[in-house]
Each structure stands twice: as structure tokens, then as C-alpha cells.
């Protein structure tokens, strides 16, 4: 890579107004969910989504092992959840960090409070450096029929994610 000014790279990358979601995963007897902003739909046919997950994250291991993940969209009125899920979650029964979930069709956790959600079956993994890009087809989808607003994005919080790796 050309020598780039790291502060400038951070400043510009942090301007990208990504979504902010909880990505859930499940393998064996393990469940977890984590805050993620690097997510996008990538194809309309098949309807496919990609998420890029830090190789050091517990959820990375679970998606690798389980082969599925869920994406939980949230209301911008309750963004504390994203701070809490920035670290490995604490599970008690069918709760992660005190937030109730149920098993989706793929086994991945769907939160009761999510305003909408979908489940993805991983079709391809791409090693992109610090992260792995998981690409897959949407195999399940749902939403809260009462909810009328928009979904939370990273600009609804003071969180920043991305830029250069801190050493």
C-alpha cells in the first residue's frame, strides 16, 4: 500500500455512514451476538449479504463453525445495546446481555427487540486481512409489523469503527 496518512485514513473511513446491527451466531452449545457496522446487501439474485468480521472476534469463530449468521436491525432510540455488544456477550438461558432472543430457522439468535432481522447461510468466505468477509444467501427474514421508523446507523451513536489497525 502507498504510504497514507493514518489520521487522514481514519477520519475519512469514519465518515462512511454505515448501518449498525447486531450480528448473531450459533454453533454447538455456543451463542453470541456482536455489534457490526461492516454489512451490506451485495446481490439481488440470489438475495445475498456480506458482513466483515474481525478474525479475533468470538462471533467469527461461531460463524466459521456454524455456517450461518443473523442480522438484527435496531431502533435508533435504543443504541446502548451496541456499546454493550462491542464485547463478547454474557449468555443466560435465552438471553444475551439481558436481551431475550429466540432461535431462528438457522439456529442463529433473533432478538425479540429487533425491529427487523434476517438470516444468512454462508456461501463463501474471503480472507481480507484483519477480517473475514462472509458472503451468503438470505434464507430467513422477518420484521416487527408495528414498527414504523428507520433502523439505527453508526451516525446515531458516538461510536467509530474502522480506519487503520491500532498497534
Amino acid at each position: 500500500m502507498a504510504m497514507l496518512d493514518e489520521r487522514l485514513v481514519n477520519g475519512v473511513m469514519w465518515l462512511i455512514p454505515n448501518a449498525l446491527v447486531l450480528v448473531g451466531a450459533h454453533a454447538g452449545e455456543e451463542w453470541n451476538a456482536m455489534t457490526t457496522s461492516w454489512i451490506s446487501q451485495v446481490s439481488m439474485e440470489p438475495v445475498s449479504v456480506a458482513v466483515s468480521i474481525d478474525k479475533a472476534a468470538y462471533t467469527h469463530k461461531l460463524v466459521m463453525d456454524g455456517g450461518f449468521f443473523s442480522v438484527n436491525l435496531w431502533s435508533p432510540d435504543d443504541t446502548r445495546v451496541f456499546v454493550k455488544f462491542s464485547k463478547p456477550a454474557t449468555r443466560e438461558g435465552m438471553e444475551l446481555n439481558g436481551r431475550r432472543f429466540r432461535e431462528g430457522e438457522t439456529g442463529a439468535p433473533i432478538f425479540e427487540e429487533a425491529i427487523a432481522w434476517f438470516e444468512v447461510e454462508v456461501a463463501r468466505t474471503v480472507d481480507v486481512g484483519t477480517h473475514t468477509l462472509f458472503i451468503g444467501e438470505v434464507v430467513g427474514v422477518g420484521r416487527d409489523p408495528e414498527y414504523q421508523g428507520r433502523a439505527a446507523g453508526i451516525d446515531d451513536t458516538r461510536m467509530k469503527y474502522g480506519g487503520v489497525k491500532r498497534h
Copy 2:
């Protein structure tokens, strides 16, 4: 894919609050830029970005041929530009749809009005169906030092992108 309710898929995919940017490309004597919302950083080391582009788009051909693309972030106060760049752009000299640009280090167009921008050298292409995912390293970056605000996202407009392919 499991049989999913297309209306539900559309409704949920349209809730993902993606960024909204102009992706520029250049090959030979051809230049273009297009509105794109399927973009995300995907790795911190190397600093990498992915964008998913419709195979039928003119910009798709240019990125394939040129091997580079630019990403231009914009102010939420001027979102008309995104409607305009939803179709192939008209070029006159160093203007696309009447918006002045210059050549970046990679040759890809950088718009004078962009609040921040970066250039990506494509390292990998992944055929994901209707779209190709272009993944590459950030090799150039810059921003308007005067601009203090946030960057435009799709929720700043009435545009919707994604969901299922219309037949």
C-alpha cells in the same frame, strides 16, 4: 433459497441504512461515476473496501477494465446528485453531469464537491449473482478540510436500493 416473501425481503433490505456515495471509474478514454449504497470497509490491515456493482452498469465495465475505483462521499445537503447519477453520466471535458472532477492518483474521478474521497486498487472480484463484489486496498485518500458535518446516507433521500431483482 428458501421461498421467501418478496415484499418482506424488500421491506427489510430497504431498512438497512447504508451509505450513499458516488463510485467513479476510468478506463482508457472512458470515465463514469454512479450512485452506490452497497459499500463498506472490510479490513483494517490492509485498509480495504468492498463495493458491489450491478453487472449491467457501465461503471462495472470500467472497474473491470481499469482495475481501480474512487469513492466520493457527499454532504447530506445536496442529495440531488444521487438521483442524477443513478443513470449513466454525461461527460463534458472534466465534468460528469455538470459536476467538476479531477483525476485521482489512480486515474479514477474525484469530484471537486466531494466532502471526502478515497481510491481503491481492486485486488479481488467475487461474482455474487446480479452483482460483482470488488474488493481492494485503499491507495489514496483525501477530504475537504473545511467540512465539519457528516456524510450522506441513503436515509437522507427517498431512494431505495436492494431487495429482490425486479422481473
